[in-house]
């Protein structure tokens, strides 16, 4: 099963006001804890968690670390990031590289669900190899990868 988590909705529930930006460590911590709770309490066994950043404005390095890096470090499920803008990528990529981590990112426009690995190159290659070996993903003729789960 693929579990879908709407980060914008989680953010709206987590901070007072109407902010759309993922900034500050305390905010990142609260949002991550809510995501972890959702992952832990899913009714069906979750193989892949799609974390959707659509509608999120700015992500700063602290939130990228607190949310993305820590979720990946715990590795409760395969995490796919979707709705990632260029600006989000600017924060997430160096944080992952700094930790020696990699994440799968769903290509935004015209991607047809294709994925790419973002982060430390060695970790990215290992992540793709692992998913292909576990038959959770396949390599496409275009050189990208795609999830085998719908």
């Amino acid at each position: 099963m693929i579990q879908h988590i709407d980060v914008h909705a989680v953010l709206q529930e987590s901070v007072s006001g109407v902010y759309t930006d993922l900034v500050t460590r305390p905010t990142g911590r609260v949002v991550r804890e809510r995501i972890e709770r959702a992952m832990a309490t899913a009714q069906d066994p979750v193989t892949v968690t799609r974390i959707d950043f659509t509608g999120v404005g700015c992500i700063d390095y602290s939130c990228a670390d607190e949310i993305v890096a820590k979720l990946l470090r715990d590795r409760r499920a395969v995490v796919v990031l979707s709705g990632i803008s260029e600006g989000h990528r600017e924060a997430i990529e160096p944080v992952l590289a700094g930790h020696g981590l990699a994440a799968l990112v769903e290509r935004r426009e015209g991607g047809n669900g294709e994925l790419e690995a973002l982060g430390a190159p060695e970790a990215a290659a290992a992540l793709v190899d692992e998913l292909v070996a576990r038959r959770l993903a396949v390599r496409t003729p275009a050189g990208t990868i795609a999830l085998t789960l719908a």
Binding site: V15, S16, G17, Y19, T20, D21, V23, T24, R25, P26, T27, G57, C58, I59, D60, Y61, S62, A64, D65, E66, A69, K70, S85, E86, G87, H88, E90, A91, P94, V95, G98, H99
Partner: protein, 302 residues
Amino acid sequence: MTRLVDVPAQFDDRSFEQFAGAYAAAAKDGERLLFDAHAAEWASPYGLVGLLAAGQAAHRPGSADRPLLTAPTQPDVLTYWTRAGFFREAAELFEIHGKLPRVKPAEQSDVLLPVTPVRAAEDVHAVVSKIQQRASAILASELGLDPKATMGFAMALSEACQNIVEHAGTGGWVAVQAYHWRRKLARRVVVIAVADAGVGFRHSLEPTQSKRFGARWSDAAALEAALVQGISRFRDPGRGQGLAGIRRYLARWDGKIAIRSGTARIAIVPKWDDDVPLKDGLPAFPGAQVLIIIPEQGSTTP
């Protein structure tokens, strides 16, 4: 007895050392301070938030008397300081002498973000939200930055403000402004200034870093550890990302960052500037003061 602290006529990061020297000399015997800005002709965002930090530090525990501030006498200077949001914050810190104009802090001008208090994470959310609405057009159309750079700018601002929330142990202020920097660059720049009168970098990093540095431990060593080596007081391996991220952003857009704390000042100096990378032995000034400058893109030959 009241001790006098002169506010430089041109009050920016360069003349700040003159101000810090006057502050250190006046504050050493714990008397009430009078900050005299009557002759001020101009102040950068750095000067304004630095003056607020001095006012915060000059508050004497157990005394009802606030430090005194003589407001600038030139009407246009007074109006500008008011529009920049300075007096709204200063009113809580100083006993102000001088007639203040009745103008609101700027909503539509080169003041991208008036002097704004930062005390908690919620304040950082408000700052980032506000700056994205206002900075986007100026960064793209006036500074020639890629429109996508706005988000990086907001990230840099967020991390600079979070230093106060996470490390200062007290509140501070941020201000963002765009202006034509004739003297140095003959170009437009966007400037972020952040200041607090908190514990400073040395004190913040001391529990985890002082042993490692031994006898070399100092304000300068603490600044170098934080800005150059990305060291944080937290043992969590993900910490220290903020300043590293700011550096990456500035490297991309040929920007500058300078941080002053205690008796030292460190800067990542771009080619267009002739600042000194590290200065030690400066007059002691509490907390930390951060300056970020992003120039108009194109040739930045000084």
